[in-house]
């Protein structure tokens, strides 16, 4: 094993060791040593990730097996790593954000009885997520995929005595399982037609697979890759919370805030985006799948952003914002601008982590009050939180110079260039959402930090900035919320991803954009003359007007909008519909099958019925054995008579 290979192993195993130490020995070593141990191991993980990243930048790619998981039916199932520019970037983002969240947790979870358990879970999550991004095959991808789902389940339900939390975690797990159901079938088709689950081997066969068809419905041949890619994307829809499988993500806010930042904003939910980017050699060959992705992503982008406008819970606003931003990443994938999607994934990971962690800092100060209507004026009490969140809000709204601007603008441009059916719809959604995003983000900022304090007197007296373990991660993450965007030149147009992402020549939106790209400053200058910039300014202005100047107006608008407001407030009634159709339907069906099928038919009619018939026959037969000699004698005489007559008659 080379030194690099040792490092590859160290990267996931360090957080795993941390998880085991905090999880199994947490009670013995106490709270302080639990966080020291996990954070020390996370630091090793981050250092190793950065070293690997540097190594990859020099052009080194590693693809190799760690061990053979199983051999069956002549198929080899391996656990192995593929370290290229895509996975190396993800490793840095995942381990970096995770380390910051570990530090932040010291402050946020201070005094919680489950302190060590929490550290164990977030380290375990980091391990799972790293296994997911480092995988070189579909099986291990699925491993990581489900493992992050498990940890997400455990963390949403971390405060397990809260009914809402344990409802939300069950819902999250099951909705994700619906996605995984499609994902697994997609993997099955890959295995069937490519005969292997190894990425590299599958991708070399992609051109051949593109010519094959599959008869899912007999007599109607469909393109194999379209079916496969859509099934795989269904998995991404679950994990990355795309409409209509988005319902779990807002509820997941029941979990502690650090994990909302780590899992439900920065890393896990982007697994679907990462997966599609990783599979670009397959998705590129199916325009149907790309169109499907564009439409799903477009719907998610716009309609989830609209819901964010009417939310009053600070975390829910950020959660719906996350859904919408994931939609942006998804439409980028659909437009074949995988690198733009992954780039937005990275910038979003930073600014959204700041928004969440900042919201968490506010929640600590407010004694776990999350309703923005009871906040206001927090700016003077919490300057660090305010300024970092302000930066993140600018990034989120897409103001030139901040990270989100570059990545979002690249996506909108790519949609503009894309010629795939559905791109027009997605372009419309993406552009409209720029306004909506700016509006809800600054609505949050103004309602929380500006204006008159609306909290009760007691809370106001105790307001103060959070401790350094909370503010330090905010500051550290705020820096890339600005600066990460400046990497757009090398990352998007400089061929950073190299062979990791493959794009067909006819889908080269990014290449056309590269021709027009003249540096970061040029991009910013150019933006001033485009629609998205003015929409974003308009959004910020509208938020300022409605929540700073004319604060009576929002209430009047919502009353005037009536049913429309209700529709948004109730999130299009999707939750109610699902709970009626799926949860209720499954229970009714299960109950019906059990009561009628098992109890009445099988047991009642056949099993116990057979027993009853035996009893009935036996009751009849028993009468023959009456015990009276004259009965038996009479029967014998009848018998003799019948036999005799038969004998006489027969002869």
């Amino acid at each position: 094993m080379t030194d690099m290979q040792t490092l590859y192993l160290l990267i996931p195993l360090a957080p795993l060791a941390g998880a085991l130490i905090a999880g199994l020995l947490g009670r013995v070593i106490g709270t302080t040593w639990s966080h020291r141990a996990t954070i020390a191991l996370m630091m090793a993980c981050v250092a190793a990730s950065i070293t690997v990243f540097m190594d990859v930048l020099e052009g080194n790619v590693y693809n190799g097996s760690v061990y053979t998981w199983a051999v069956s039916g002549g198929m080899h199932f391996e656990v192995g790593f593929l370290i290229d520019r895509l996975s190396a970037m993800m490793m840095v983002v995942v381990s970096g954000v995770s380390l910051m969240v570990h530090v932040y947790t010291i402050g946020y979870m201070h005094g919680d009885p489950g302190y060590q358990r929490f550290f164990s879970y977030i380290s375990l999550f980091t391990f799972s997520m790293l296994m997911l991004v480092m995988s070189n095959n579909f099986l291990q991808l699925f491993f990581g995929w489900e493992a992050v789902g498990l940890v997400s389940y455990l963390l949403i339900g971390f405060w397990y005595t809260r009914p809402t939390a344990v409802y939300a975690n069950l819902k999250a797990f099951l909705v994700n399982r619906v996605g995984d159901f499609g994902f697994l079938l997609g993997i099955g088709l890959v295995l069937l037609h490519a005969g292997t689950l190894d990425y590299a081997e599958v991708f070399t066969q992609a051109p051949r697979l593109a010519t094959e068809t599959i008869d899912i419905i007999p007599g109607a041949p469909w393109a194999l890759l379209s079916v496969t890619c859509i099934l795989l994307f269904v998995g991404a829809m679950g994990k990355s919370a795309q409409f209509p499988l988005h319902v779990w993500l807002p509820d997941s806010m029941e979990g502690p805030t650090p994990i909302s930042a780590l899992i439900h904003a920065a890393t896990m939910v982007t697994a679907g985006i990462f997966m599609v980017a990783r599979m670009s050699p397959l998705f590129e060959l199916s325009e149907t799948a790309l169109s499907f992705i564009l439409v799903i992503g477009g719907i998610t982008t716009l309609f989830m952003a609209l819901v964010a406008i009417v939310q009053n819970d600070i975390k829910r606003v950020v959660a719906y914002s996350t859904l919408s931003q994931l939609g942006y990443m998804t439409v980028a994938l659909g437009a074949s601008a995988y690198s733009a999607g992954v780039f937005h994934l990275m910038t979003h990971a930073f600014f959204k982590a700041v928004l969440f962690l900042g919201a968490g800092s506010v929640i600590i100060a407010m004694h776990h009050e999350q309703d923005m209507r009871k906040m206001g004026g927090l700016k003077r009490y919490m300057p660090v939180t305010y300024w970092t969140m302000f930066i993140a809000a600018l990034a989120s709204a897409g103001v030139p110079g901040f990270a989100g601007f570059f990545s979002k603008d690249a996506i909108i441009e790519a949609l503009h260039f894309a010629a795939i059916p559905g791109a027009g719809f997605a372009y419309f959604c993406a552009v409209t959402t720029v306004f909506v995003t700016a509006f809800y983000t600054f609505r949050l900022v103004f309602m929380t930090f500006h204006g008159e304090p609306r909290m009760d007197h007691h809370t106001q007296e105790h307001l103060h900035e959070s401790p350094w373990v909370v503010t330090l991660p905010l500051v550290v993450l705020a820096i890339p919320s600005i600066a990460a965007g400046w990497l757009i030149g090398p990352m998007l147009f400089g061929g950073y991803f190299g062979e990791a992402i493959r794009i067909l020549p006819e889908h080269e939106a990014i290449a056309s954009m590269a021709a027009e790209f003249h540096g970061v400053a040029g991009m910013m200058a150019h933006a001033l003359s485009t629609l998205p910039f003015w929409l974003s300014m308009a959004g910020i202005f509208a938020a300022w007007y409605l929540y700073r100047v004319n604060t009576e107006l929002p209430g009047r608008i919502s009353r005037a909008a009536g049913p429309l407001y209700t529709l948004l407030d109730r999130k299009y009634f999707i939750d109610e519909f699902y709970s009626w159709l799926f949860a209720g339907g499954a229970r009714a069906l299960g109950g019906g099958l059990w009561k009628i099928g098992d109890v009445k038919l099988i047991d009642g009619l056949i099993v116990n019925g057979a027993a009853r018939s035996v009893a009935r026959v036996a009751a009849l037969v028993r009468r023959l054995q009456s015990g009276f000699i004259y009965h038996y004698a009479f029967t014998m005489i009848v018998g003799v008579f019948v036999l005799m007559s038969l004998w006489l008659y027969g002869s």
Partner: protein, 494 residues
């Protein structure tokens, strides 16, 4: 041979003799002696089984560790034993489970201790006999004999409705297996007077008798597995059985049905098996989908797990009748994994039942507050039951779903619904039992698992995780046998 003794005879008769020894300790005055003797006997049984794995030649598809001597010469019946890559793992699973069951009953069983412990040891030996017999009559004797200890375990140490459950269990399975005996006698005639199972494998048969024989075997094995619609004895038997009984029933006895398909149905009547494969697949998929939904609405934890067993065993029969190596190996892996997981799930319910004397989900709530260590174990096994990757529950289901898609996309589609239903019924139960505020004073009074319980659960957790993270050692031993079996089944006997 171990110390000059034949290995297979040792794994059969050592536990049986130990069981008789335990019985001989007599009344409950000597209960502690009975417990220690039973533990020693069961561990000895496990130790003598280990060479079966270490000395097994994974490259050979032939029967290994063969023993053969005349038994009833007049009918040409032999005491003929041997194992291949299918039987050997099942024997190990059985020997692995017995000590756990003995420990599980350690403090809980206080009445007729020696008889309880003795019954489990004797059953362990009998089941090893089932998995290693190569003579049809010997097999039949072990097969039927295994009913008796379980009948007693349910009928004597069971719950309030134990008599109904015990009789239902006994009659259901007995009736199922009678036609199997008829089939053996027919085969004896056709083969010119042989009861050797391996002779039957090579016996040419026309299609009609093949189908009749298949149906006769099917009744016996389908009841045992159990397949839909002859599964209704299982929930009742589980609900009434003591914890140890449920563990052995789910982990071991159900596997006898699966084993029967592989040893008898497929190789003896391959053409009928192919002819009826679609029916068998349909029944298996009904088990996965229908039973998955039925499990969702159960209010009794044991019933819920019993139904989940039926659904998981549906994967096993599905894997058999796909006729590809992936499916068959997946099915065997699934049998072993189900042994670990269902055993663990029943033990977990047993832990709760021992404390609160209720199996009703509604009587619990907030258990995690009082029993955090237990909650962690239960979570692990619940996740394994939902087929989470990294646990053994994933391995078999994943391989079988992959195999099903190779045959027909929709088979895979229906089988994969268990990803959703399995998680739904398991985790919904978990939520209602373990999460939430402490639901009642009774829950408030619960104590966490003790050292004895931790030991059992930890051993099973290691097995579940070990097999999930690295199933290769389990699949390696079966390749040769499975390939040979598939090649054999592919040859028509007509």
């Amino acid at each position: 041979m171990l110390f000059g003794l034949p290995l297979l005879s040792l794994v059969i008769w050592l536990p049986i003799l130990a069981g008789i020894g335990v019985l001989a300790t007599g009344g409950d005055r000597n209960a502690q002696v009975a417990r220690w003797c039973a533990l020693a006997g069961s561990i000895a049984g496990l130790l003598v089984a280990i060479p079966l794995y270490t000395r097994f030649d994974p490259l050979s598809s032939a029967m290994q560790f063969e023993e053969r001597s005349a038994w009833i010469e007049y009918f040409n019946i032999h005491y003929h034993l041997g194992v291949d890559g299918i039987a050997m793992p099942l024997i190990l699973l059985n020997c692995f489970t017995t000590p756990l069951v003995v420990i599980a009953g350690w403090q809980v069983i206080t009445q007729r201790v020696s008889q309880y412990m003795g019954a489990f040891l004797i059953m362990s030996g009998i089941v090893n006999g089932v998995f290693s017999s190569l003579d049809a009559i010997l097999f039949y004797v072990f097969w039927e004999a295994s009913l008796i200890p379980m009948f007693l375990i349910i009928g004597v140490w069971g719950g309030p409705n134990r008599v109904y459950a015990a009789i239902k269990f006994f009659l259901y399975t007995l009736l199922g297996s009678l036609l199997m005996l008829v089939a053996f006698i027919y085969l004896y005639q056709m083969s010119g007077g042989s009861f050797s199972i391996q002779d039957y494998h090579h016996l040419p048969l026309p299609l009609t008798p093949q189908i009749l024989i298949f149906v006769a075997f099917l009744l016996a094995f389908a009841v045992k597995v159990p397949m839909w619609p002859v599964h209704t004895w299982l929930p009742d038997a589980h609900v009434e059985a003591p914890t140890g009984g449920s563990v052995v029933l789910a982990a071991i006895l159900l596997k006898m049905g699966g084993y029967g398909f592989l040893r008898f149905s497929l190789p003896i009547v391959p053409d009928a098996s192919h002819q009826l494969a679609t029916l068998m697949i349909a029944l298996s998929l009904v088990a996965v989908v229908y039973i998955g939904l039925v499990a969702l609405v159960q209010a009794d934890m044991k019933k819920l797990i019993a139904y989940s067993s039926v659904a998981h065993m549906g994967f096993v029969t599905l894997g058999f009748f796909l006729f590809n190596a992936l499916g068959l190996e997946g099915a065997i892996v699934q049998m072993i994994s189900h042994g670990f997981i269902s055993g663990a799930m029943f033990l977990c319910v047993g832990v709760l039942y021992d404390r609160l004397h209720s199996r009703q989900i509604a009587d619990y709530g907030g258990v995690a507050n009082r029993m955090p260590v237990f909650a962690a174990f239960f979570m692990l096994f619940g996740m394994a039951n939902s087929g989470l990757p990294g646990t053994s529950g994933f391995v078999g289901e994943f391989i079988i779903i992959m195999a099903a898609i190779q045959v027909d996309f929709w088979y895979g589609f229906l089988a994969a619904t268990s990803l959703i239903t399995g998680a739904a019924y398991t985790l919904w139960m978990y939520k209602r039992v373990v999460f939430g505020e402490v639901a009642s004073p009774a829950v408030e009074a619960l104590d966490d698992v003790n050292g004895r319980e931790i030991a059992i659960l930890a051993i099973l957790a290691a097995a579940v995780l070990g097999m999930g993270l690295c199933p290769a050692p389990f699949t390696e031993v079966m390749h040769a046998t499975v390939d040979e079996l598939l090649a054999h089944v592919a040859r028509s006997k007509l």
